[in-house]
């Protein structure tokens, strides 16, 4: 059965609550700021919000339902999306269908997390059952150690070098220097990247995101509602989602996108060549490279060569993570899974806060995450378009 298009569904009101390294505020506070930002930005009232999707690692013991009472919302559509870096894409595609079918009119999708001095350590040790049983007891190096193994394997098989990964990180940092909310504000050179201290070989300091507190959000509604409110919006062309893909791969070297990529572009009616910018999920540069391959921009194994032969800044030949990505902006927990989508909407509605990608008409936001044992299980991607509604 062919995938039904997302006719009439738009994404609007991109909101970022400025990140902070550490915060004594709760996730509830951060989520509240983001929801307030969307309602105000849309010119609506709380009573108008009839759909809510929440993603957060630190809002426990609450889930989305607790936040309805906490924030004074009475939605008729509610979702809790605990998918980390894939949260944005998954929240969007569920909200889109609800709006499309009339189950809800204005859905706020929000991701927010606090970060306290021991938040990260506590989260790591109880992240998943498999991590508890089969990963954390092995050196407790966290995702850095797990992705170091993936990185090492990928480098061995496809000849990627640290310089290749460094190029991605340096370009993202250049993008971030113009982005007002980025926590990393200093320029990064390739030498600094290469000489930085090792975290878990071959991963070094600048391969790792900085965990922080923050929130990101957007509004999903019908195109005519957005127009009547005077809101610039991006149209949703296609989405894919896939979890626990390729379970027989001994070490992860490809993600779920590879299984559904043809359907993705077919549904959108565009090809990879039509994409003006890509926001990959950048927990580690090796995953950026995998996404570049699996999202159809080059063949598997050609990621290193692709990176070498393109410029990845917002004004480059392959604009990538144009606000700086998590590697330079910071990873505010689940908000990291929204960061790329929010930047995509800004770029496509002419509201880029940093460098604007010239003539951006089609943007791709990709999500990935939830390392359960030895690999990221969740993946997804969304294609959006700007221009005239």
């Amino acid at each position: 059965m062919a995938r039904q298009p997302y006719d009439g569904v738009v994404v609007t009101v991109p909101v970022t609550v400025p990140y902070r390294r550490y915060s004594t505020n709760t996730a509830h506070w951060w989520v509240g700021r983001a929801v307030h930002g969307v309602i105000q930005g849309a010119g609506l009232k709380s009573a108008d919000i009839d759909g809510l999707s929440l993603s957060s690692f630190t809002v426990g013991p609450d889930t989305a339902i607790g936040l309805t009472q906490h924030l004074g919302l009475s939605p008729r559509w509610l979702d809790h999306v605990p998918l980390g870096g894939a949260s944005g894409v998954v929240a969007l595609r569920r909200a889109a269908r609800a709006v499309q079918c009339g189950d809800a009119e204005f859905v706020v999708c929000v991701a927010g997390d606090t970060n306290q001095v021991d938040s990260f350590r506590r989260m790591l040790s109880t992240f998943s059952r498999f991590a508890q049983d089969a990963v954390y007891p092995y050196g407790s190096g966290g995702p850095n150690a797990s992705f170091a193994l993936i990185t090492r394997n990928y480098m061995k098989h496809y000849g990627a070098t640290r310089e290749d990964f460094g190029k991605i990180c340096v370009a993202q940092r250049d993008n971030a220097l113009k982005f007002p909310y980025a926590l990393m504000k200093k320029k990064l050179t390739l030498d600094e990247y290469l000489g930085a201290r090792a975290i878990s070989d071959p991963i070094h300091l600048f391969d790792c995101v900085m965990p922080c507190a923050g929130a990101e959000a957007f509004l999903v509604c019908r195109e005519d509602r957005a127009r009547s409110l005077g809101l610039p919006a991006a149209r949703l062309l296609a989405t894919i989602e896939r979890h626990n893909a390729f379970p027989e791969d001994p070490i992860q070297y490809r993600g779920g996108w590879a299984l559904d990529i043809a359907e993705f572009y077919a549904m959108a009616g565009v090809t990879a060549d039509d994409v003006d910018f890509v926001q990959t999920y950048d927990d580690y540069p090796v995953i950026c490279m995998m996404q570049i391959e699996d999202l159809g921009f080059c063949a598997k194994g050609e990621g290193p060569e692709f990176v070498r032969s393109h410029t990845l800044t917002a004004d480059g030949s392959f604009p990538h993570n144009t606000s700086g990505g998590q590697l330079s902006v910071g990873q505010a927990g689940a908000a990291g899974g929204f960061l790329g989508l929010v930047e995509t909407v800004r770029q496509l509605t002419g509201e880029a806060l940093g460098t604007a990608v010239p003539d951006a008409l089609v943007g791709l936001a990709s999500g990935f995450g939830m390392i359960n044992y030895d690999r990221g299980l969740a993946s997804g991607a969304a294609l959006l378009a700007g221009g005239t509604a």
Binding site: R121, P137, G142, S200, D201, I251
Partner: protein, 413 residues
């Protein structure tokens, strides 16, 4: 190449002793199947009863056919090390103190990928064999070893952290009067212990093998009577900080069920020597052992109980004795939990009838004291927790696992 362990220098008395930390010890119930395997030195993973898939990490439904029948079975331990990483920073205090720490992804020939600790002599791309071992938290982890033994491999720091190797450690054998105690003294001296203290009670009573015991290298006789609280406390007062491995060889074996042995004086003695003796040792030596679990190369490592296998299932011919051994086993289990915060392992070595005078009328197979000594040393070198020595002990263990009630009848017939 593993650097051979250097004999530790005398401890700097002005330096604070490192407090023992433990790696994360929380495991799901199903994952405790690995702990059971590691305790005995077996390599076992879940194997689906319905589709034969070999599964890791442990779980509650087969990922291939969704069957819930996933018993742990012995599995081929060979594989290839696909990728490795050296972790240099951790939020966990235990590992932070032990950086850098190597782990890797091993693909087992049997199927699954296993994230494992790496022995220093194993490199990426090489063939490996995995072992399940108990780490300091008392839970199972996998360590990948070189496919063939390498020189000094037992001195690898990650390996030593997982075992209780007597090399360069100081041992206390609580009773040297017995053949087992003497065989152990010799075996531990040969295994590289820096000193073996051997406890002797009632020095006015001569005993067989005394001359030979006194002549063994690195063996020192100390006064220790496990039926006397004052004696145990005084011995601990003098020696506890210098004991890294304590082996309780106290022996009191008499025939008879609980009706048959008229009166309670023999039972009292039995309990004094075996159960209260263990309690005294635990109280006198336990706290210091627990505090010294991370105290360098010769850290406190193990409290070893030699237990009759009839602690697990009563043999009425030695019925009262079996009951006392059962009390000791239960106490040892408590001790295991009480010493765990120090990362000190409680090792229970189970054996059937011995080739000693109190089992004289029992037909073979019986365990020779030297064989028991060798098995105990090996258990320490391998970091095992539950060890069964000899044919009878293995037999009892196997029968217990299948049908304890049948075993009760068989032993009682």
């Amino acid at each position: 190449m593993t650097e051979p362990l250097a004999r530790p220098k005398r401890k700097n008395p002005l330096k604070k002793t490192r407090v023992p930390m433990l790696p994360q010890g929380v495991r799901s119930r199903t994952a405790l199947g690995l702990t059971a395997a590691a305790a005995e030195g077996r390599f076992r993973l879940q194997v689906c009863d319905d589709c034969a898939a070999v599964i890791y990490p442990p779980r509650d439904a087969c990922p291939r056919c969704l069957s819930p029948r996933l018993p742990f079975k012995d599995v081929d331990d060979r594989g290839t090390l696909l990728a490795e990483t050296t972790i240099r920073t951790s939020t966990d205090v235990y590992f932070r103190e032990r950086m850098p720490w190597r782990i890797g992804t091993v693909q087992l020939d049997a199927g699954p990928s296993i994230v494992a600790h790496l022995h220093g002599d194993l490199s990426e791309g090489q063939r490996t064999r995995l072992e399940l071992k108990l780490d300091k938290s008392g839970q199972a982890i996998a360590i990948a070893l070189p496919a063939e033994d390498t020189p000094n491999m037992q001195d690898d720091p990650q390996w030593r952290e997982l075992t209780c190797d007597p090399k360069f450690r100081r041992v206390l054998i609580t009773d040297g009067r017995t053949a087992v105690g003497q065989a152990l003294a010799e075996a531990l001296s040969e295994a590289g212990a820096s000193i073996v203290f051997v406890g002797i009670a009632d020095p006015w009573k001569p005993f067989a093998g005394e001359d030979r015991l006194r002549k063994l290298e690195r063996v020192e006789i100390v006064a220790l009577d496990m039926t006397d609280t004052i004696s145990v406390n005084e011995c601990a007062g003098e020696f506890a900080p210098r004991v890294d491995i304590l082996i309780n060889t106290a022996e009191h074996v008499r025939t008879g069920g609980i009706i048959e042995r008229k009166g309670l004086t023999v039972a009292r003695e039995e309990l004094e020597v075996r159960y209260f003796g263990l309690t005294r040792l635990a109280q006198a030596f336990g706290p210091v052992l627990r505090a010294r679990g991370a105290d360098g190369v010769n850290s406190a490592a193990a409290f070893v109980n030699l237990l009759s296998v009839y602690a697990l299932a009563n043999w009425p011919a030695y019925g009262a004795f079996s009951a006392t051994e059962a009390a000791c086993l239960s106490a040892a289990q408590s001790l295991r939990a009480e010493l765990r915060p120090g990362g000190v392992k409680v090792v229970n070595v189970f054996f059937g009838p011995l080739e000693t005078e109190w089992y004289q009328a029992v037909p073979p197979p019986k365990v020779a004291p030297s064989a028991l000594a060798r098995a105990t040393v090996r258990a320490l070198q391998q970091g095992l927790e539950d060890v069964f020595v000899g044919d009878i002990a293995e037999d009892i263990r196997a029968r217990l696992a299948v049908n304890p009630k049948a075993l009760e009848r068989e032993l009682g017939s």
